[in-house]
């Protein structure tokens, strides 16, 4: 166990720093690694930034150069995330293309389908993920959007919801029911769907915060070519697991980076409001710092586990812990600075423990890792 990385990793860091100093757009710096989308879609600077990262081999460093990387090692990838977190720079304002679609196509796609990857990674085509449904939230395996194979094409009928980026997407990575209605995980397939196909209706959903990041997507007799099936029929559940498994060992750095960012803002707020000497505020901030620092250490411990065993149970804990902590920080923000803005921040933070698997689902998963029997 030791605190610092070796000279090779530090050389890698220096190279990345030089690139960021020369190229990082001012709009990106300090924005935080999990930024909110802007109204009206993905701004030009974000598109150009993502494309530049891809072209220069800094988008997914562990990939080969033709896929936006530079064959970086696991530790180098971790250093990459550390540095982005330090600068508060997001890689892109929409992640499905490079984080979910591309790795899945590379692993399960046909040669023809793999040709979609560079544009998806570069951000030239914007992808959305059609997963959740009104009746299939935490119980994802009960999804009902149906695809029926009819000769050389599927016919899709159903509804998706909370579909982020769908208003601005050209393509959809769509989960459909192809097995019997009660076939659960065993009867799900994944289709590539062109969003301009007739029969697709995207209706933006206004969120409780007032913003609009996602939409409902309705499919009525939508015709999808049979060759757009990814992987085997009824094997879609496996495809869900394909997303950047090798990057997952370092993705937590983004979450911690975002918390760090929030923490620093809280300290500034406390100074600005003149409550930095209030003992209650000081203790709350110290406890928050303690948690952020401890979770960062836990992330690194998980990385060591991953290096040794190829998987890290610690990282399941981090999704739960970081999203819950974000809510705690937002509450401290309201204490420090009781304004509509900090209350909006608190309201906004509540989505973090719902999206991407609720905290309850995360705790179920942790219980499995702990070897507890199936729950009731």
């Amino acid at each position: 166990m030791h605190l610092a990385w070796g000279p090779e990793e530090e050389a890698f860091r220096a190279e990345l720093r030089a690139f960021l100093e020369a190229n990082a757009p001012p709009e990106a710096v300090g924005r935080g690694m999990e930024p909110e989308l802007e109204e009206g879609g993905i701004p030009d600077w974000a598109r150009e930034w993502q494309a530049l990262l891809f072209d220069e081999g800094w988008l997914v460093p562990s990939y080969p150069p033709e896929l936006g990387g530079r064959n970086a090692t696991d530790v180098q990838t971790l250093v990459y995330f550390e540095e982005l977190a330090e600068w508060g720079i997001p890689r892109a304002l929409h992640f499905p293309g490079y984080a979910i679609v591309s790795p899945s196509l590379l692993e399960f796609g046909t040669e023809e389908q793999k040709k979609l990857v560079p544009a998806a990674m570069r951000g030239d085509t914007v992808w959305c993920i059609g997963m959740s449904e009104p009746g299939a939230g935490s119980d994802l395996a009960s999804m009902r959007t149906r695809a029926v194979l009819d000769g050389d094409h599927f016919v899709v009928n159903g509804q998706k919801v909370w579909t982020s980026y769908s208003m601005w997407s050209q393509m959809c990575f769509l989960y459909v029911r192809t097995g019997a209605p009660d076939s659960k995980q065993r009867g799900i397939s994944v289709l590539i769907v062109d969003m301009s196909t007739p029969g697709i209706d995207v209706r933006p959903l206004r969120q409780s915060t007032g913003g609009t990041d996602f939409a409902e997507v309705f499919f009525t007799d939508v015709v999808v070519p049979a060759e757009n099936l990814i992987g085997e029929m009824n094997d879609g559940w496996r495809v869900t697991m394909g997303s950047l498994a090798h990057e997952r060992a370092g993705l937590w750095v983004e979450w911690i980076g975002a918390l760090d960012h929030l923490f620093r803002r809280l300290v500034e707020q406390a100074r600005a409001r003149g409550v930095i000497d209030d003992p209650t505020v000081r203790r709350a901030l110290a406890a928050a710092y303690e948690e952020v620092a401890g979770l960062r250490a836990l992330g690194y411990k998980g990385f060591a586990t991953y290096e040794k065993a190829g998987a890290a149970p610690e990282h399941a804990l981090l999704k739960l812990a970081t999203s819950e902590l974000r809510k705690k920080l937002a509450q401290i923000g309201v204490e420090i600075d009781p304004t509509p803005e900090s209350r909006r921040e608190l309201l906004g933070s509540l989505s973090g423990t719902i999206g991407g698997g609720t905290s309850e689902i995360q705790r179920n998963a942790i219980a499995r890792i702990l070897g507890l029997p199936k729950g009731y």
């Binding site: 203790r283 110290a286 401890g294 250490a297 040794k308 705790r363 179920n364 029997p373």
Partner: protein
């Protein structure tokens, strides 16, 4: 921050684990309060590892974590973990510390060691077998001794306390406490897998599963915080000044929460004298107070970060 254990570190941990499994059963811990000499053979065995006192903080923590998981009593822990930083690492005689300021901590095993380092702010004086009074025991595995300082005595030499002495002691104690917490967590987890009610293991109920998940998170975060601090000490990095406070208060917080949950999940059987759980809970509650309470550490941390 590289958390990978070297083969030597893994071996050290395994050796400690095997040693306490064989030589520190809970019956010894229970007998200790009435007759502390029962731990003498164990103390003698542990002497073999006295060089940990001057070695890397990570190694010391790995070792103490295992001792904490078995509630090892006796003079080895206070000598190697607490006293050594104030004695230039010289542990040829047994020792412990008593802290007067910036907080108060009585001397662990103060009536059984050769030397007591009395720390008062940035000064320390080493006393030989000082007078004092045994405090009413709460942690049955540990004797707390209130040292009476005689300022005029000829063997009292007041010197500057090594600046980082308390930091190393705090991390060492936190590692031991994390070991104690690990036992409570693992024992409770196992119990919920085997104890059946309503025809199924109680660990199959979500009401417990989600709480066990939270316990595992608190434990893992405390563990990682402690070793981060130990690494920072070994690297002599400025980070260590903050990390030691994070380590101690995270370890205390995890210990408290898991102690309460462990008792609740064990139910009536856990509340009996015969069950070992109370021995661990007593140690956990007592260690929270030693070398600074959580509130003290948070206030100190606030001074450093705000």
């Amino acid at each position: 921050m590289n958390f990978s254990l070297s083969p030597e570190q893994e071996m050290l941990r395994d050796t400690a684990r095997a040693l306490v499994r064989e030589h520190c059963p809970s019956s010894l811990v229970r007998a200790y309060l009435d007759d502390p000499s029962v731990a003498d053979p164990l103390d003698e065995r542990l002497q073999e590892f006295a060089e940990l006192a001057t070695g890397s903080a990570v190694d010391l923590c790995l070792f103490l974590e295992e001792l904490g998981a078995a509630l090892v009593p006796g003079t080895f822990v206070p000598t190697v973990a607490l006293f050594a930083p104030f004695a230039d690492g010289d542990v040829s005689r047994t020792g412990t510390i008593a802290v007067r300021s910036p907080f108060e901590t009585p001397a662990i095993e103060g009536d059984r060691v050769d030397l007591v380092a009395v720390i008062d702010g940035d000064q320390v004086q080493i006393l030989e077998r000082p007078d004092g009074e045994l405090l009413e025991p709460f942690d049955l595995s540990r004797r707390l001794y209130d040292v009476r300082v005689r300022p005029s005595a000829s063997n009292n030499r007041v010197t500057d306390a090594p600046k980082d002495g308390l930091e190393r002691a705090m991390v060492a104690l936190s590692a031991e406490l994390v070991g104690t917490t690990r036992w409570m967590f693992e024992t409770t987890l196992e119990y919920t897998k085997t104890r059946e009610q309503f025809d199924r293991p109680i660990g199959s109920f979500q009401a417990l599963q989600h709480r066990l998940a939270d316990m595992s998170l608190l434990y893992e975060r405390a563990w990682a915080s402690v070793y981060w601090a130990a690494m920072a000490i070994d690297a002599d990095d400025d980070e260590r000044h903050r990390a030691v406070h994070v380590a101690k208060s995270s370890a205390s917080e995890a210990a408290r929460h898991i102690a309460l949950e462990a008792m609740q999940m064990h139910g009536g059987i856990g509340f009996t004298w015969d069950h070992d759980l109370h021995l661990y809970i007593r140690r956990a509650f007592a260690s929270e107070e030693i070398l600074g309470t959580t509130a003290w550490h948070r206030d100190r941390l606030a001074e450093l970060i705000l």
